[in-house]
């Protein structure tokens, strides 16, 4: 996965480049809007990370120029400015996500992964999640390559969670997903199916219950993303 970072602050840029490299991304870095435009015009990137404040024009106008030129690369905006109009404008112009400075590396990595997955995921395609692989169109789930039998209700729950990977899904929404399959839904139908899913998939997948909100399918930590030292390998 190739990423372009557009950031003029050296300290931040250096840290982001190294952090993302450790997480397994290839990162190109430019400090100017005009260089960014040139790079995006000639080469392919899977994701662009744009700082809003740049010395030669702001990231928002760069974004606008990219989008009007037909560039569909997912864009994550980085900013130290924290105003609602900025954020609204960024999304209107076609930004895919927004991250405030200062941020934690782990959060940046997670956001990048989520954006890339969303961009590469075709409707009804296959979702890979650690040791799991889910074929949404064929309704088939593989664990370490072996098929796992799921009831249609369990599948309905899992599918909803997969569509919202890493995000909380309200219990009401899971109930709605089940409603097509069960006519007399008991209050704890969701809990029942979740616990069955957990039993079948064990530690290959974590479904986290959040009190008062619902459930969240946790993103697996990327292999090698935690503590790694690229220099030692090289």
């Amino acid at each position: 996965m190739r990423l372009l970072l557009v950031e003029d602050d050296e300290l931040v840029a250096d840290a982001v480049v190294r952090g993302l490299s450790i997480a397994g991304f290839t990162v190109d870095h430019v400090a100017r809007a005009q260089h960014a435009r040139a790079a995006l015009g000639t080469e392919h990137f899977d994701l662009a990370i744009l700082d809003i404040g740049l010395p030669d024009g702001d990231g928002l106008s760069l974004l606008q120029a990219l989008r009007s030129a037909g560039c569909g690369t997912p864009v994550l905006m980085l900013t130290a400015r924290f105003t609602l109009p900025d954020k609204v404008r960024a999304f209107e112009l076609g930004a895919d996500d927004f991250l405030m400075k200062p941020f934690e590396q782990a959060e940046l990595v997670a956001r990048c992964r989520a954006l890339l997955r969303r961009a590469n995921q075709l409707p009804g395609g296959t979702v890979r999640l650690g040791r799991l692989s889910a074929d949404l169109a064929g309704r088939q789930l593989l664990l370490d390559g072996a098929a796992v039998e799921l009831t249609r209700r369990e599948w309905a729950v899992l599918e909803t969670l997969l569509h919202n990977l890493g995000r909380v899904v309200a219990k009401e929404r899971l109930l709605q997903a089940l409603a097509g399959w069960e006519h007399d839904l008991s209050a704890n139908a969701v809990e029942t199916h979740i616990s069955r899913l957990r039993a079948k998939l064990g530690d290959a997948m974590t479904i986290r219950a959040i009190r008062g909100l619902g459930y969240r399918l946790e993103e697996p930590a990327a292999p090698g993303a935690a503590v790694a030292d690229p220099r030692r390998r090289s």
Binding site: D9, L11, V12, D14, I22, A80, P102, I210, L213
Partner: protein
């Protein structure tokens, strides 16, 4: 001293004094005119008798008639004249009306009538000697006050020329009648004066009251400024005398407003400027800690990282605070904000941090809505959750709620940490106040921000105790609920 009090103090006593003086003059005039009228009536009666007696001087019959006449011309007496009574009878009848008649000869001896009155009657003068300075004379009539039969009387004496030298006719009456008239008159006057005084004072009070209404309105406006918003005073309704004051006050307000805005901008800019280098610092330290070569320096690096995080946190908090300070026009940007959605969003955002701290973070989001600024409310709730996560013990519970109680919609965060003792609940809202032994990287701005944002939304932060008397319960109750 208020302006109204000052005006009333200046006006009311002097008016009361003036009106009292007027009443005194009235009294004097009333007394003098009553006396004059009664004197004239008395001398008229006497003169009528004289005229009558002169026509037929020396005839005792006529003297008797004169008594009758006196009764006839007495307007106060409705009894019809008795036909031909004896002179003594007449005198007696007169005496019953408290009037006395006496006719004396040139030598001063009693000819007819009351002897005691005769003794008081002056001698007929040789000529002008009759006009004494002490007694009032009215066309030859001599008036005097005297004591007769134990009463104070007013008497008049007239000269009655006759063949045997001048006679004197005296007519006296007690003061009873004129006193009664005087009383009635004085009482009437007094009542009128009193009513006049009351009415005048009332009119003055009303005039002062209504005249000072614009000042009262100005004061009400000033009190409405209590929200710390530096809004201008409305100049349209202000009286001309006060307008310069209000205008210059408005100018000062504008300056103050500009200064406050500049300060807010400065803090916000400074915080913004700090963020990028701090972001670099935090990220670099994070990488350094992950680097295997620094394994032996972990404790030191952890401290450095904590410091950098505190720096980042402080920059964010300063920005929040600058944003939360009320400014004019802030409320115009308010929109309905769903509190339950906010609770869900922020609980989700804090789940990972709660996990790291081993805290069970949960939501109880009941529908609620306020009229406000979504970002400020997000800041408010973020600070409350941060605070709760900081104080809750490992393995503890933090619950974030929204809902409606009575007319107020509220946000609430409850933890099961040590709680905040009653004595510190006021102080924790102060900026940069940190409780002794506070954990985490706070700088003591969290609750100050919450308090500020709550007030900007017409809300109130109340600090209570969690269930089972443990932990802290922070609730912000709003009054500006967005229209459903």
């Amino acid at each position: 001293m208020t302006l109204r009090r000052r005006l009333l103090l200046l006006l009311l006593p002097s008016l009361a004094l003036l009106l009292s003086a007027g009443a005194l003059v009235d009294r004097w005039v009333a007394l003098a005119s009553t006396r004059e009228a009664y004197d004239r009536a008395l001398s008229g009666m006497a003169r009528a008798a004289v005229v009558y007696l002169q026509a037929d001087a020396g005839s005792p019959r006529l003297l008797a008639h004169s008594g009758e006449l006196l009764r006839q011309i007495d307007v106060d007496d409705p009894t019809p004249p008795t036909a031909h009574p004896a002179v003594d009878g007449i005198a007696q009848a007169l005496q019953q009306e408290q009037r006395y008649l006496a006719i004396t000869g040139p030598d001063g001896a009693l000819i007819s009538g009351d002897a005691s009155l005769a003794a008081l009657t002056p001698r007929p003068p040789p000529d002008t000697a009759l006009r004494g300075p002490a007694d009032r004379m009215a066309r030859g009539a001599l008036f005097q006050d005297a004591q007769l039969h134990g009463h104070t009387v007013r008497m008049v004496s007239l000269e009655l020329p006759s063949a045997g030298g001048p006679l004197m006719l005296s007519l006296a009456e007690t003061l009873e009648r004129r006193d009664r008239t005087e009383h009635v008159m004085l009482l009437g006057k007094l009542l009128v004066d009193f009513a006049e005084l009351d009415l005048t004072l009332l009119v003055v009070w009303l005039a002062v009251y209504f005249g000072l209404l614009p000042v009262g309105r100005l004061r009400a406006q000033a009190e409405a400024h209590a929200s710390r918003e530096l809004r201008r005073f409305d100049e349209s309704d202000v009286p001309a005398e006060l307008r310069p004051v209000v205008t210059s006050f408005n100018r000062v307000l504008e300056l103050l407003h500009d200064a406050a805005a500049a300060q807010r901008r400065f803090v916000a800019d400074a915080a913004h400027q700090l963020r990028t280098p701090v972001a670099g610092l935090v990220a670099q330290i994070e990488l350094l800690r992950a680097d295997a070569r620094t394994r032996r320096l972990q404790p030191e690096l952890e401290r450095v990282q904590r410091g950098a995080q505190t720096l980042a946190h402080t920059a964010n908090q300063l920005l929040s605070l600058a944003r939360a300070e009320p400014f004019s026009g802030m409320q115009e940007k308010f929109q309905p904000v769903a509190l339950d959605a906010l609770v869900k969003q922020l609980v989700e955002r804090h789940i990972d941090r709660a996990d790291q701290a081993g805290i069970d973070l949960g939501a109880d989001a009941q529908p609620a809505q306020v009229y406000g600024d979504a970002w400020l409310l997000e800041d408010l709730l973020t600070n409350l959750i941060d605070n709760a996560l900081k104080y809750a013990s490992r393995g503890g519970r933090v619950t974030v709620r929204s809902g409606v109680e009575g007319a107020g919609h509220y946000l609430e965060v409850e933890d099961d940490g040590p709680g905040i003792p009653e004595s510190e609940r006021a102080r924790v809202r102060e900026r940069f106040y940190r409780r002794a032994g506070s954990p985490g990287m706070g700088v003591g701005l969290g609750l100050a921000i919450v308090d500020e944002i709550a007030r900007a939304h017409g809300g109130h932060l109340s600090i209570g105790t969690g269930p089972a008397l443990r932990g802290a319960r922070m609730r912000v109750q709003f009054t500006l609920s967005g229209g459903a």
